[in-house]
Symmetry: C2
Subunit: 353 residues, 2 copies
């Protein structure tokens, strides 16, 4: 059995008995039942995922997977692809949005080169797991071979296993890759069955005309490559990206290790959807960080039954939304662990009508 099959098998459904156990404590805290809304949901899910009545989130990490995309040759992005390695160096120096927001959340950032078309040599702090030097232009043929796509997923699984072993309790996903909303929209279209135009947006900020071109490019690329919607690995290989594969692997690996994983925005959700289509039980371990500005995001979240935590018009990626959402998920756990019960506080819990 290979690593992917083995990991997918370890994605077991969360035991719902733990929800009831957690809810019992939540209902005994000094507040009207259910009045802390989704904070209570976060606490319940953390208890159930950890199978532990008093879980901890002390070690948190956001994985930012970086890769390039041959499809940028079609003019689908507002930025040149040189920006991908430039931003990787920015991550390593701590100056990017994800660095700031991860510090705010008390999380570390792990930057992974999984497919950047640049030789980083031994850049300090970078995890070097390059599978491809950028994908091929999938307007002309498959983005990757099936073997390469599988390798990307394995990179994510191995990182999940490693950081689970090191005692991390909460993972976040992130991405960097000029052009990567294009493969994400392609994945969204193929795996949700929606028309390309309904799941394709302006990425980092292209014009209306360029958006039309981007939609046409994706439509004809899907026709050319005919990825099999029943085979997520085929979809990842033909119209995906290396960082999207890494994220898919990280999600499957998180679930296999019973670690909750916060899915960032549009690109991360495309990765999570690949994971979900390989093993739907992975969704039990996912938290959807936010509702991205990218219009295809919602369709993918709906397919997986996830409700985004934040809605702040974010569209940066990198894991920024995941880091922000971590602060709210942790708030939910603190409520659960630190609030006084009615008995402890001498507060009446009698409801009079």
């Amino acid at each position: 059995m290979n690593l992917l099959e083995d990991t997918a098998k370890k994605n077991v459904a969360v035991n719902e008995d733990w929800y009831a156990k957690a809810q019992k404590r939540l209902d005994n805290l000094t507040k009207p039942p259910g009045s802390l809304g989704r904070l209570e949901e976060f606490a319940r899910r953390l208890v159930a995922i950890n199978q532990n009545a008093m879980p901890s989130l002390d070690k948190k990490v956001v994985f930012t997977f970086a890769a390039d995309h041959g499809i940028t040759a079609e003019g689908v992005s507002a930025y040149p692809k040189e920006v991908t390695p430039q931003m990787v160096f920015n991550f390593l120096r701590g100056g990017a949005g994800i660095n700031v927001l991860a510090r705010h959340a008390g999380a570390e950032v792990v930057v992974v080169d999984i497919g950047v078309d640049y030789d980083f040599e031994n850049a300090e702090g970078l995890r070097a797991h390059k599978v491809v030097r950028g994908t091929k232009n999938f307007a002309k043929g498959p983005a990757m071979t099936r073997e390469e796509a599988l390798k990307c997923i394995e990179v994510g699984i191995n990182l999940a296993d490693e950081f689970a072993e090191k005692g991390y309790k909460l993972f976040g996903t992130g991405d960097m890759g000029i052009g990567n909303t294009t493969p994400s929209s392609a994945i969204a279209a193929v795996l949700t069955g929606r028309p390309v135009a309904e799941v394709t947006g302006k990425g980092t900020g292209i014009s209306d005309d360029s958006l039309k071109g981007k939609i046409k490019t994706i439509e004809s690329a899907i026709k050319l490559n005919s990825p099999d919607p029943k085979d997520a690995l085929d979809v990842l290989a033909k119209v995906g990206g290396a960082e999207i594969g890494g994220i898919a692997g990280l999600v499957l690996g998180a679930a296999a290790n019973r670690i909750p994983v916060v899915i960032d925005g549009f690109i991360s959700t495309a990765g999570a959807l690949i994971a979900y289509c390989i093993e739907p039980k992975a969704a039990d371990y996912m938290f959807a960080a936010h509702n991205s500005v990218e219009i295809g995001h919602k369709a993918m979240l709906e397919k997986m039954g996830l409700s985004p935590i934040l809605d702040l018009n974010l569209r940066l990626g990198e894991g920024t939304g995941a880091a922000l959402a971590m602060t709210l998920i942790e708030a939910g756990l603190k409520i659960y662990k630190e609030m006084a019960t009615f008995g402890e506080a001498g507060v009446s819990d009698e409801i009079i009508n």
Copy 2:
């Protein structure tokens, strides 16, 4: 000139030149323009409110105003009014939701007795500013005299002045008072002009039948007292509550001191709306923390032109939503202050289409 008039006069519109200054820096940070959505809005507003290109939020405080309500005699709440003082003691011991979430946000909690029907003697840590021992039952006559309502507002203004003087940079509002969704719905109906049924919800969790009774109670109380919608102080006195007046004063005082103030949920927003109807410029200093489950909340936010930051199905009050939103507002400021610029990071900012 009295304290309220003096304070309202100091509520000056924010100078919009600062928005442009802040946006210039935001657009020079290593991200596509606008890609951090509302986080950028928070930073812009903090810069403009502070009239400072590098503002700080190091000292933060949530004020939780507690009071009782004579209207509970009409059976409008799911809990007995004894819970108000019990919860005050819970706040003082640090065991309530607001204590947990304020700690999470790095904010202090100041608990204010502005109208609880209980003798706290010299309870440690409590700010004793009792104006009334609970309001009168406004189903039978005015909740307070005009003088009492004014005194409540002055309590809030004085606290704002005191904590501005002490160097606090961000205020949050909160409330505790069994029965206080009822005066808040009455205020919402009178000041937004909407029918009572459209702005009245289940509070801490009453039954469908009790909700019908609550709506009827409010409708006939408004008829009986005929508060003047053009005179917010009259509305506060006749169908309001002491904590709502304290919150209104705190908001006006915050704006007068150019301190941003995070408005919690339904009850706090009723207080903010009183402030807004006294001086609409106060809205320039408000951040709406969240979208409460209470159905009347949205109408009040719309009237003031505010968009809620969070939507997590919260309905606890106390300032819990304000504390949570503080963590996101601070994240916006950190992005603005800590991210590298394109020049610093050697990242291309050239948009190619």
